[in-house]
Symmetry: C2
């Protein structure tokens, strides 16, 4: 049962779907639109969580947990801010199943167990959290509140794809409350910067930072900051958002505090989140036709050791050598797996770990014992070399660093090459009709321009770039006076 | 707003409820029966998670994530195993809310968005996981599967209490599949032993290990292993369970594997879990009339430093000294908080950290700077002493160890004192009517005896103790031939 992927050049989307399953990351479940995250995929998500959580805590945030279910009326309070958001969601209406009288083997919803008020599975937690903050915040002494939650959320999506868009997904959502507008804006910016740093340092994925246009921002936000990454197929992926919410939620849920001067003021808010969608971004940033490629900083194990032997004696000797290497690697905080299964051949294992994107593979055979060598295979370049066992640990350490850097540089080059400055709308269209990529252009700031371009080309404004533009710059589309530089692309 | 608790001797249950809220652990939410776990409470849960997760991984388990929602028909497949279990649960019947035509500010359930099949919020995940395992397990090569999930689950409880019984709670659920019966039994026992070790080593909470009687075991299990702890009010608390599931779920979901010999066999299963209920157990094991008492190994911060000063100059000098101490403590992996808020007085802070159960408090005042001392206050004994700054770190380290041990010993003494071997049923009743505690007694093995005792006294069999009993032992209640020694108690 050898694994085989469709080539990216043939069908990128098919390649992605096959890779997610064959690399043992996730699969569709019995529940429409909901996925099972398999152990190998979940181990990568855990690594992401761990690093993000450290960064959140280092900047003064605390974790907490709020209820999964939100009473319907709380969405009504929020509705003016977040219109359209609470709509496509899972609604709990009853609290009991019972056996069917006519067929005892069947379960039916007990009509007598109807809830007085329907409960919605959280699509996001602003409503339930701000309804709680009302009781937590009275005085300036209670501010700021800087709370994060790791949780599952649910949005009833019609078209789903593993990691990229699923009805249920895992995420973190930060919800902060501040005494001043300035402090809240700084918080929103800080968190977007943290997301950018995480993407670049750990995921080896370069991103562009900016803010969303009115039509693309979160309905409840005053301003939405975001990071945008460019996938191998020339489409953009929004990898994280951070919202400055102004006083919208404070007003909807009546959250006021008494200032030092004794005045009653509404609180200023932010929220920010990244989700298991990052798994999709990671996959589509680095992987190739042989399977997943993982940056060492997020790999469940950075090194795999595969023994190559013909008899028990060889196996014993190789295992001893492998154990020595494992001990040394672990002393250097390098995670390693020894695949000593006798149920699969080395060739099968090589293909398996290529598919799973393990950064470095060490092969040890009888010849290696004689020559005091091992075979070292890099996943990113697929290069193989024989190295002396004596300097192995340093070599492994250095190579893992190289792989991490190489992946980042490769992605950065790709993004640079595929970020286009265009002179005319015709040029714009030939790019969106062609290989895609980011398009930098001036924009007149009007929703009409944005809409027309989207209609023509399916490209949207991914973000507005915070940069002064030259006097006299003109909108690519309308030729009117431009107000800002923006990044266009078709997007996931 | 000084905090004050009802005394345990006056009303234990009221004391508990007040403590949970005043120590900032959790509170009730806008959703009936669901709690908000506040940052301080969640930080303790995170510590528990971290240690348990390490123990699971060290014994070869991997984490994964399965869907929140379970299609109704999967419970029908399971129903013969788990009768009565899927019943009181949250049922999703619709997937959209829309604005009410007559009152645009209201949201109603869209009757056109009715699901073809109802979805149940998982009360536990055997059904969805075994339905998935069916596709993962074909050959003996695919076994064992040793998977754990950290998740939220929901059971529609009528009477709820923070941490002890809530409709939504957080837990971990392990689900394993094995080729042989023996291996599955060993796994179930191993996990119960891990729970016991965690309770004793980290929670400083002694537990009794045993198995459940037919009437108390999980409906889908062949055998349920458990750990039982004794709370300060003489009631037992089931702190963890581990189930040997036999082939029940494999048969319900048709999970077979091809053995080495080429035969088709049903898989053997276990499941095991602990939940945020452990928070309740922790609170009721150690806390006192002044508030929470935490074992150092699970405290969000083990040491708090409170500066005592009258002017800015003193504050600056004390802060410098505090910073030196913090650096040294952190070098020794001791977690410490410096409370330098100028919005609250030292006395207020002392009461606050007593309520929150911080194991050690260091006070530094101007006199201390002169004398090269600090004041050290232990939360468990409420003892205070002045100690020299020179040997402080060692003193802190040793005292934290002492506190951890002292809490365990205290609880162990309490359990010993309150574990009764009784001669007659009258004696039994005088204990259950009095201060409670564990009662060790012989049992004839009949459900009738169990039921009668429960009816008379509200005490149940907490567990059957795995111990050979003397020839001729008789059941305390029926005077018939005993088959085993059991532990009775009233329970949470």
């Amino acid at each position: 049962m050898s694994k085989h992927l469709t080539k990216r050049s043939e069908n990128y989307s098919k390649w992605y779907n096959e890779l997610v399953v064959q690399a043992d990351l996730a699969e569709n479940s019995a529940v429409r639109g909901c996925m099972v995250i398999k152990p190998y995929g979940y181990a990568i998500w855990e690594k992401m969580q761990k690093e993000l959580d450290k960064m959140f805590k280092a900047t003064g945030h605390e974790n907490a947990y709020f209820p999964l279910l939100v009473p319907k009326h709380l969405f009504e309070a929020e509705e003016k801010n977040a219109e359209g958001f609470a709509k496509e969601c899972a609604v709990v209406t009853h609290y009991r199943l019972k056996s069917d009288k006519n067929d005892k083997s069947k379960l039916i919803v007990d009509p007598e167990a109807k809830l007085e008020e329907e409960l919605v599975i959280r699509p996001t937690s602003e409503a339930i959290i701000w309804n709680t903050y009302k009781n937590w915040i009275q005085s300036y002494r209670d501010l700021p509140k800087k709370i994060n939650q790791w949780a599952n959320v649910m949005r009833w999506e019609m078209r789903t794809r593993l990691f990229l868009r699923t009805s249920e997904f895992l995420w973190q959502e930060g919800h902060t409350a501040h005494a001043t507008k300035q402090e809240a804006i700084e918080e929103a910016e800080l968190m977007n910067n943290i997301y950018a740093k995480f993407a670049e340092k750990y995921m080896a994925m370069p991103v562009i930072k900016g803010t969303k246009s009115e039509s693309e921002k979160f309905a409840g936000a005053v301003k939405t900051y975001c990071i945008e990454a460019l996938m191998q197929d020339g489409k953009a992926l929004q990898a994280g958002t951070s919202h400055f919410l102004g006083q919208n939620f404070a007003k909807a849920f009546d959250v006021k505090y008494t200032s030092k001067e004794g005045k009653q003021e509404y609180v200023w808010a932010t929220s920010w989140g990244v989700s298991t969608r990052l798994m999709g971004a990671l996959i589509m940033s680095h992987s190739d036709d042989s399977g997943l490629v993982l940056p060492p900083k997020l790999a469940p194990y950075q090194v795999v050791i595969v023994p190559i032997y013909r008899n028990d004696e060889q196996f014993t000797q190789i295992s001893e050598k492998a154990q020595e290497i494992i001990n040394e690697l672990e002393d250097h905080h390098i995670s390693v797996k020894f695949d000593d299964r006798d149920t699969h051949k080395p060739g099968w294992k090589f293909a398996e770990y290529e598919m799973k994107g393990v950064p470095l593979r060490i092969g040890i055979g009888p010849k290696d014992l004689e020559n005091n060598t091992v075979e070292l295979a890099r996943r990113d370049t697929l290069n193989k070399s024989f190295v002396k066992q004596d300097g192995l640990i340093l070599e492994v350490k250095q190579t893992l660093k190289d792989i991490q850097n190489n992946l980042y540089k490769k992605s950065q080059n790709f993004m640079r090459k595929n970020t286009h400055k265009v002179e005319s709308y015709d040029e714009f269209k030939s790019i969106t009709n062609g290989d895609g990529g980011f398009i930098e252009a001036y924009w007149d700031g009007s929703a009409n321009t944005e809409e027309q371009i989207k209609k023509d080309t399916k490209a949207t404004i991914r973000c507005i770039i915070d940069e002064k533009i030259p006097e006299g710059s003109k909108c690519l589309f309308s030729q009117k006076k431009a107000v800002s530089k923006v990044l266009y692309a078709k997007a996931y």
